[in-house]
Symmetry: none
Subunit: 264 residues, 2 copies
């Protein structure tokens, strides 16, 4: 029973590699994952996969490659995820909530322990994640490398975060179970895809009330993504926010009438 | 002065690779070292070095390869070392003092800080270190991999220990683990009274768009207070939210016209 629970825990943590160029790095990442007990690999638009070079570098972790999901967009890779952690270099224009790898391991295990799906997202070998991709992440993770030579090999970066996940998992396994927090169903946080639908709705509403000029959007949506992304919005809260947006759009269109309200 | 001392500290920690088969792993190890601020590489009887493949995998860390010392025996590689840490799988015949990677990082930094030379020793890709070689080590280090698939790639193992050395070094230096985020004045959180003004404005807007019925408010505002209250809303974000409310109210009243926007 205990073992089953443990198994489920690490299964909840997926590694997402975005637009990887070199299949050797996919194989190296798979090996690093399996060494650390992770099994769920998602490849977003890989440039060369499946590949004999990936299998060679996986060196015994070919099963991870065989069961890898290949998808077209990051959005698809994140469906169902309640916590999305994206690796990032320094110096982004918009400061984002940052975790160091150790905190990342702890946060991933805590969420997975509660039954949530977690994604660790790694960008391209040379260019990393785009700003748009980074804004889909709730937190950014920076591996504290030497600023003079800061870019880790992709498989090496996967190794470091997978290692920290395993360290947190081993530590959690030795701790007594914490008092159970009764989570109301209402309090369950939304998933990454639900958050994306909200952002699309929000953007539409902001255009309708003429607060957002689609021709000159500036950084408005990314500022709002940062705010809501770090706030662990619950499903109930999301219902309220979506209801507000629906009514806002109706008001902007002069379509006011008596509406069914969200039950709070 | 401080910087010089820091420099000397990490210079005191050498990475020793014993009888490596694949030059790609030597290159990968060099890159991992340089990423983590280590520079001293010693190769004991490498099977293929120098090598173009090593340079390719080093990817910018060729200087580590150029300055690597090549020696014939582990004994030569360890001359002058006060602390020798050897990577090992579990279950050796002779029980030996074991460290986990985190303890290894701390021990290496402590010794190096006192001016001692430290060696991190890594064995062959398939066979690891021999018993004789392991007995030259003061401590064995085991990376806590999944027992079902425990053997890390050589460069990945170097990455994990080099990472733990860097983490211990950053902690000892009291350097920030996270990249310094220059907090713009805009990012300063709002005060409680600013939040209260926002709630009043929000409530007014919700009434105007007919989402909130003042006669029967239910728990709507308290739900929204809980959401925004835990989100550490910054002054810039508050300006955006207030701007949205202002435009929403205008839209509800049919007072749309070209407005000055909040600068984001």
């Amino acid at each position: 029973m205990h073992c089953l629970w443990v198994f489920v825990l690490l299964e909840n943590i997926r590694v997402v590699l975005v637009n990887t160029s070199h299949p050797g790095n996919i194989g190296g990442a798979a090996r690093a994952m399996k060494n650390m007990g992770l099994s769920q690999l998602v490849l977003v638009d890989p440039q060369d996969f499946p590949s004999a070079e990936a299998v060679a570098r996986a060196s015994g972790a070919a099963d991870i490659l065989d069961s890898a999901r290949v998808v077209g967009t990051l959005e698809e890779a994140l469906v169902g995820c309640r916590l999305v952690l994206g690796t990032s270099a320094r110096d982004r224009h918009i400061p984002w909530p940052m975790l160091e790898p150790r905190e990342c391991g702890v946060a991933a295990c805590e969420q997975a322990q509660q039954g949530a799906q977690v994604a660790l997202v790694f960008g391209r070998e040379y260019a990393g994640l785009t700003n748009e991709e980074l804004q889909r992440c709730h937190f950014h993770v920076h591996i504290p490398s030497d600023p003079a030579f800061s870019s880790l090999n992709l498989a090496a970066a996967v190794q470091v975060l997978a290692y920290e996940v395993r360290m947190a998992w081993l530590a959690a396994e030795e701790l007594p179970l914490r008092p159970e927090v009764v989570v109301e169903q209402d309090d369950e946080p939304v998933t990454a895809d639900e958050l994306e639908s909200f952002y699309a709705h929000l953007e539409q509403a902001l255009i309708e009330i003429k607060f957002l000029d689609p021709v000159r959007p500036r950084r408005l949506m990314s500022r709002l993504r940062r705010l809501y992304g770090r706030s662990s919005v619950s499903k109930l809260e999301m219902n309220i926010l979506r209801g507000i947006l629906t009514e806002t759009i109706k008001a902007a269109r002069g379509q006011h009438q008596k509406q069914e309200k969200v039950d709070v």
